[in-house]
């Protein structure tokens, strides 16, 4: 904002023009508003959680200490988001590569549009799709996982008969964050310098080798950036998880059973309507933890992105 003072436009005349002043003030106001909003939310969370932080465990819901109450929720939040990100990133990169480098030109537009359309579906619709379609459809698959890969802690079972498991919730989150991750990747992949690509091909590289040597390194930091954006959405996703997941407040890596850890956002949505007094403060304290988790994730993403593309 300071920079406008020495911008070529302003420097051209003896005085800054009227339009420039209005613009710079508006821009300044917009920037300050963002900061004020963020600070306001953080302040609200801190103030409202203080009563819960100071309270004795016996006064809190379930008679557990605040840490014991929030820890399983934080675990569930991170687990669901981790499943989503592990599945969504490779898929999103592949989709982006297909659109930018493999697909015939005439279907590129339609295909990008369809992927973007996934982002326009309300999360409650994803939730309903999860319990009515994906969940029941996943039951046989989860039985198979239990029987054949049951030695892994993830697939211990017993497999749920309704399909409302952490694995299904993670799959739905995967679909939900796919568009944003792939949009970011697509944007950058298509900007890979032409001469690098042609150079690689001229040296005798196959298309895959060309992609591996030029497109992927060029887009690496953006893949991370896109992944982190997706992670942010997966961490905070509320409605879909609330509807799908059969929550039980336990900590387990078992992804296919009926007993799953809840997530922070889903737990707030489930318990807030019937809560009063200190229980509300406890829920807000869990929201503060979620806020902190997302903040750390985003800071980490920025650090990675900033370090990335130099080479």
């Amino acid at each position: 904002m300071k920079a406008t003072g020495v911008s070529p436009l302003a420097a051209a005349g003896p005085r800054r023009r009227w339009g420039d002043r209005v613009f710079s003030n508006l821009a300044l106001a917009a920037g300050v508003t963002i900061l004020a909003l963020l600070a306001g939310v953080a302040l609200f969370l801190v103030i409202e959680s203080l009563p819960a932080i100071g309270a004795a465990p016996s006064e809190l819901p379930d008679g557990k200490s605040l840490v014991d109450y929030i820890a399983p929720l934080a675990f569930g939040t991170v687990l669901a988001a981790a499943i989503a990100i592990l599945l969504a990133v490779p898929l999103a990169v592949a989709v982006a590569l297909f659109i930018t480098h493999v697909a015939p030109r005439r279907i590129v537009g339609a295909l990008s549009f369809l992927v973007d359309l996934l982002a326009a579906i309300p999360s409650i619709i994803y939730g309903l799709w999860g319990i009515f379609v994906l969940g029941p459809a996943a039951v046989p698959a989860m039985r198979w996982l239990e029987e054949n890969l049951g030695f892994l802690p993830f697939f211990q079972g017993p497999a749920s008969v309704t399909g409302r498991t952490m694995l299904v919730a993670g799959l739905v989150l995967t679909v939900m964050i796919l568009p944003i991750v792939s949009a970011v990747c697509r944007e950058v992949f298509s900007q890979t310098p032409r001469k690098l690509q042609e150079g690689a091909l001229a040296l005798g590289a196959t298309r895959w080798e060309m992609i591996r040597m030029t497109v992927l390194p060029f887009g690496r930091s953006s893949i991370v950036g896109g992944a982190m954006l997706g992670l942010g959405r997966a961490l905070g996703e509320t409605m879909a998880v609330t509807i799908i997941l059969s929550v039980s407040g336990i900590v387990t890596f078992n992804l296919i059973s009926q007993a799953n850890p809840s997530t922070i956002a889903a737990n707030i949505a489930l318990d807030f309507p019937e809560s009063s007094g200190l229980a509300v403060n406890t829920l807000i304290a869990s929201g503060l933890v979620l806020f902190a988790i997302t903040l750390v994730t985003n800071l980490a993403a920025r650090a990675i992105v900033a370090r990335g593309p130099a080479r």
Partner: protein, 364 residues
């Protein structure tokens, strides 16, 4: 506009008029038609469907009145009523001293008195999905053991003992509970705690206390989960059970299903809870879940209305009074039964609680 278009408009207006007239004649809501103004209420989401029906009928009879009911949940309803944000509230549990809510509500109503009356009785059905098994019967101890995850297979001896002559499959039992905090859960756990104390050792709570079961959001979520999973059993408002099997529960020496009459009967069997019923216009019932009286279904949710005997304006008081009168009237209870599947209050109970509504002072 073409002729056919005009015709369509005329026909639809006519249909609308007939529909409105039909609504008007079918509801004989209380009120003299001279009331005007607006009041707001908030609270129990279990009452939502009933409140919607009452409000629609009441506003039809009293065109100058606007009533809103925000189904924020019982906790939020109590909080808003105590804070004075709403004229009346709905709650699935009576106001009590635990969190100073009873005192707060009495304070709010000063210089008047607090009014609290039951207005909504909803039987909670035990729904199950077990193809080939109809008319499942369960004793309280068996029911508690199933939901406590001690009985895990449908061909367990305890279940067989309750169902002589029925062939039970060896399907795994999947107990389904609510994942959100709810009055339904609180009433169901209260029942288990009182009737099967040896098996069910968890305190009554709106949050499901047993870990590891299947959990789903809301009544519709539980019904959907039971529908989807063979071998599943859950608890849900009886009106929402749909096609699912509904278990009969052992009361005394017989097995009783969640019918409206059987559910309404529990309040007649229950003594008033004078610990809580401190004001003369506060009717809170200590539900006698252990009743052995014939034809009584003890797993019910009883929701209450909260109001005051005095309001700042006599207009507001008049609306609250007329609305409460309508809600507990036979017509109001009938409308709730139709819309929400609740069990109508019995006449004797209505006589008992009527003085509390009449205590509301409309001035003049």
């Amino acid at each position: 506009m073409s002729l056919s278009r005009w015709l369509a408009v005329v026909v639809s207006v006519a249909v609308l008029a007939v529909g409105v007239a039909a609504c008007g004649s079918s509801s004989e809501g209380g009120g003299s038609g001279e009331l005007s103004g607006q009041i707001a209420g908030a609270g129990s989401s279990a009452q939502q469907a009933a409140q919607e029906a009452w409000i629609a009928n009441f506003e039809n009879e009293n065109s100058g009145v606007t009533i809103s009911y925000d189904p924020v949940g019982s906790g939020g309803g109590r909080e808003q009523f105590i804070a004075g944000g709403t004229a009346y509230g709905g709650s699935d549990t009576p106001l009590n001293e635990d969190e100073g809510e009873l005192k707060g509500a009495m304070e709010r109503c000063k210089p008047g008195e607090l009014v609290e009356i039951p207005d909504y009785i909803s039987p909670i059905a035990i729904v199950y999905n077990l193809p080939g098994v109809e008319g499942l019967q369960l004793s309280p101890d068996t029911l508690a053991a199933i939901f406590n995850q001690e009985i895990t297979s449908w061909d367990d001896k305890a279940i067989a003992a309750d169902n002589p002559g029925v062939e039970l499959p060896s399907t795994r039992i999947v107990p389904v509970n609510r994942s959100d905090e709810s009055g339904t859960t609180e009433n169901f756990t209260d029942y288990l705690y009182k009737v099967a104390p040896e098996v069910w050792t968890h305190e009554p709570s709106g949050d499901w206390p047993v870990k590891g079961g299947e959990a789903a959001q809301g009544t519709s979520g539980v019904v959907e989960a039971v529908n989807a999973g063979e071998g599943a059993i859950g608890y849900a408002d009886a009106s929402q059970a749909g096609e699912l099997g509904v278990a009969k529960i052992k009361v005394g020496s017989e097995y009783v299903g969640p019918t409206a009459e059987a559910a309404a009967k529990i309040l007649e069997e229950s003594p008033e809870d004078r610990e809580i019923s401190k004001g003369k216009d506060v009717f809170a019932f200590e539900l006698d879940r252990k009743t052995e009286s014939q034809g009584t279904y003890p797993i019910v949710l009883v929701s209450s209305l909260m109001a005051c005997t005095k309001y700042d304006s006599s207009g507001e008081a008049a609306i609250v009074k007329a609305y409460l009168e309508y809600a507990i009237s036979p017509e109001g209870q009938e409308a709730a039964a139709e819309n929400a599947g609740s069990a109508p209050l019995s006449d004797s109970l209505r006589e008992q609680i009527m003085p509390a509504v009449e205590a509301i002072e409309t001035g003049s």
